[in-house]
């Protein structure tokens, strides 16, 4: 079971504040992704049955939103903004550095499953561009040096488990 007691309890807490079951779908998918790292077909089926929705309803929602991963991602999901404000402050160069360092292209995951690198659109932190989001955390005002320091830290975190 992907939707365990913890998840179902979290959703039960939200239920009184919403007049429909479907409104709980986005929160439920966030909970599933927090646990699994991505949203599998199996998870979609479970979510549909949990909220009494057709599976297609769940699939169309999962496919609409970019934050729901439809395939597994690395332990560290490195998302770099390359949109206008970050672009003006050197994001393209940072993306190149990341690709070189990780040995993958944007959109790929390293063979060891440690890193996924994604170029994303605006992260709404343009005043501290360029910005990289790793899992839930923003890292701002980056340049090549601070980016490498960040990546060293992430490497170490992975080593320490």
């Amino acid at each position: 079971m992907i939707i365990d007691q913890h998840i179902s309890q979290r959703i039960d807490e939200l239920r009184p504040q919403f007049p429909t079951e479907q409104a709980l779908l986005l929160p439920l998918l966030h909970e599933i992704q927090a646990k699994e790292g991505w949203i599998s077909k199996e998870a979609m089926k479970e979510a549909a049955s949990f909220l009494h929705l057709p599976v297609a309803r769940v699939e169309e929602v999962v496919s609409f939103y970019t934050m729901y991963n439809r395939k597994p991602v690395g332990k560290q999901h490195v998302q770099i903004c390359t949109n206008i404000a970050c672009y003006l402050r050197g994001a393209d160069h940072l993306l190149q550095c990341l690709e070189k360092r990780l040995g993958i292209h944007e959109g790929e995951t390293t063979a060891d499953g440690k890193y996924t690198l994604t170029a994303v659109e605006c992260l709404a932190a343009c005043g501290t561009a360029p910005v990289v989001q790793v899992n839930n955390d923003y890292h701002e005002n980056l340049d090549e040096k601070s980016l490498n320091q960040l990546m060293d830290r992430l490497d170490k975190e992975l080593l320490d488990g």
Partner: protein, 441 residues
Amino acid sequence: MAEVLLTRHNGAKDSHTLAFYKSVGGYAALDQALNMAPDAVIDEVKKSNLRGRGGAGFPTGMKWSFMPKNPVDAQGNPKPKYLVCNADEGEPGTFKDRLLLTQHPHMLIEGMVIAAHAIGASQGYIYVRGEFYHEIQILNAAIKEARAAGILGKSVRGRSWKFDIEVYRGAGAYICGEETALLSSLEGRRGEPRLKPPFPAQVGAFGMPSCVNNVETFCAVPTIIKDGAAKFAAIGTERSGGTRLFCVSGHVVKPGVYELPINMNLKDLIAHCGGVPGGRSVKAVIPGGASAPMLRADEIDVAMDFDSLAKAGTMAGSGGVIVIDDQTCIVEAAARLLKFYEHESCGQCSQCREGSHWLARMFNRIEAGQGTTEDLDKIAQICGNMAGQTICAFADAVTGPALSTIRKFRAEFEEHVRLGRCPSKPEHYVRPHDHHASARL
């Protein structure tokens, strides 16, 4: 400089806590508002000339007055009314919500409770973009404090009125910043905009009357009630009152959020942020978020309020000011903007779905030196088939950067066509973010 109304306590220790907010006079406006009739609150907001800070600049008091007084369903049962806060910040160049959510969450809550009193709502939702994980934690902690203090919940301030707020986390879709798309998303659906009419005041969240306002709009409400509409209206212009949180990014020495009179001069604002670094000069400015048509350096001596910028052929939008220096290739910058819209079109209307895709490809092609002069004219034609033809304003937004860059910097586009490459880059330059560029041409 004029008075700072919303962000006076920026950077103060624990500014996000209830204790701090109360210590600086927070929630006094709520008690004042609760002693006023709902219509009197709406009147006060009308008099303040507060206009929506999300982008459209619609008068806030008027929006509230559209909410039906005692709506009933077909069986005559009263319908619930919903108050929704749009914190789905995503317009490139805009980054004020983060500051308000993390440093002043109680100001937002207070503004929402006052608004809920004015329109008679029983439930509020704050729709926050999904990436703001930590911001949501802070906001939820503030809501919890407000519940414990009797500011939210079954009996607001001891009255027989229930109002509570729930945070709803988005999942990565720019279009959900459009208010009807936001409502679709809040219902757990794809974030697809809806036809208006019916407007959300009639048929909004879950089919019920709903009012959607931006974070900064709500945050302006407590100061309007507490210090009076006249004081707020005295700042700005006759049709647009108050201060505004300008988000300045790109090529300035000190990027950041600056609270200044809403009719601040754009040129002065850039100087206020330290000007362009490295002794370079301004080439172009996007004055109101990515969707606002660009201004050339000779057009930036302009006031930033909604009407003045509209008169200048652009828009005040979300208050996101993106400064572009003279070393930047405008064609590449435009291609980058168009790539955003291609990625973010929800795909519901064919004009927008196909048009934003074609535009992105064409700008990309021109930037890569493979465009033709006909492309430049075709872009205008495509834009003409998009603007005003779709359910929401997204398609119009796409045409802002597309048309303004070609019209104002046509020589740069033609130079790319003539040379067969970008003049500002080495001959065999490959854009790092776009490995499939050749396939996409």
